[in-house]
Symmetry: C2
Subunit: 221 residues, 2 copies
DNA sequence: CGTCATTGCGTCCGCAAGACGCAATGTGCT
DNA sequence: AGCACATTGCGTCTTGCGGACGCAATGACG
């Protein structure tokens, strides 16, 4: 779950009870639930948001993904002898990436965690399991898809300025972009429209406000 | 599992015992086996080939993927009352695409099938489960990755002519390409080298033979 | 009211892709 | 043996997009 705030790309992490270490938010697929719906449910439970950009990016199924970190804690976590004891054994995870509006998220821990909050994507504690690698892969996918995805539609508030959108792309891509070429490219992608209003209150010349067009009005690739 | 033969892209299918219908080749992940290794094992069992191009492309996990087609046959297939009875219930599949040299494959049925053979990718029987959709998605992934993947390294024999390589790309992309621009692009991608030999026996001017450079000699993107 | 960083808009250059011309060449037919 | 012909090898021209960069307009602040 990616967010964007103050020039930086953020990820939502949860802190496990008893272990005191952090991991990506996750959950388990119910027997009568599709994996897409399961991902949507987990997203909703952690953020309170629904109907959000959510895309599968990779399945992780190595035999040693670091489940052993849970071994000593299965009793404390209430897993020992229960139906969920497989959690400390072999697990295959299907990774989904979500893009959410930072300001609208209400981070909520799950049954196994006692904290849930945003971290800077470039500066977060080492994670449990193989989740560091998962973040790297999610970022790679995000970068690859950034060229044809209306990123800001989900990561920014409804109205935004061009510099704000540019800082988002810079955070995702990891390198600075030319201000003038960026504006040109975005505009003839046709995803956004310029509003007559300008954003006042900044320290300098007032930039125009923009808004994403409804996806029905934009042609898909 | 994609192959290439006579201007056409091919897929390997298996025909289920008793049901008499076709599906993609597949298998189940063992408890102590990574999903990548499981995919490699299935590939090896169906084709006899090893160490082949194999890439995960999507996980399929809807609740109704057509497992009901197996319902009446679980006894005939030897599943009833066994540990594998879940096969007729809920299954999540992780799709891998493989590129193999058509000429080197020895199609081999598995325990549930009595036939295994190549089909034209544009002309095959309607498949069991959600496998028609899986092929569509695999083809889409293949097309998207065709621009930066040395396709022929796995789908063609060691030596090949430029027109042969072009027909492969046309089969994958689904539309014709300009002969001269194609040659230019391929050559300055730097994946292949021209051999001094020419392929004689054709009806017209003899084309040069080419060979893929070892992947170590080509720079990755 | 002047300073100044920032914004809006435009130009120039280079590269890669697409359209297409032309000469060379191996086969098969007469 | 010679000719017709489809195919191959190689080159040119045009087009569109991205990256580098110039210049005037503008809003806040001292």
């Amino acid at each position: 779950m990616f967010g964007f705030h103050g020039r930086e790309l953020k990820i939502l992490l949860v802190k496990w009870k008893h272990l005191g270490r952090w991991s990506l938010p996750g959950g388990h697929v119910r027997r009568d639930e599709s994996i897409d719906l399961a991902a949507g449910r987990v997203l909703r439970e952690r953020t309170g948001l629904d109907r959000i950009f959510l895309q599968q990016f990779h399945a992780f199924g190595d035999t040693d993904r670091g489940e052993h970190a849970l071994r000593g804690f299965s009793a404390a976590l209430g897993l020992e002898g229960t139906e969920q004891e497989w959690m400390v054994d072999r697990v295959v995870s299907i990774g989904y990436l979500a893009l959410v509006d930072f300001a609208e998220v209400a981070p909520t821990p799950d049954a196994f965690s006692d904290e849930c909050r945003w971290w800077d994507v470039r500066e977060h504690p080492p994670l449990l399991f193989d989740h560091d690698a998962m973040i790297a892969q999610a970022l790679g996918t995000l970068r690859a898809r950034a060229s044809y995805l209306p990123l800001g539609r989900n990561l920014l508030p409804e109205k935004f300025t061009m510099p704000e959108l540019q800082r988002l792309y810079e955070a995702v891509l990891g390198h600075p972009l030319d201000r003038r070429n960026f504006q040109k490219r975005i505009l003839d992608l046709g995803f956004v429209e310029r509003l007559p209003e300008r954003k006042l209150g900044g320290a300098h010349r007032a930039p125009y406000l923009y808004r994403f067009l409804p996806s029905s009005a934009t042609r898909r690739v």
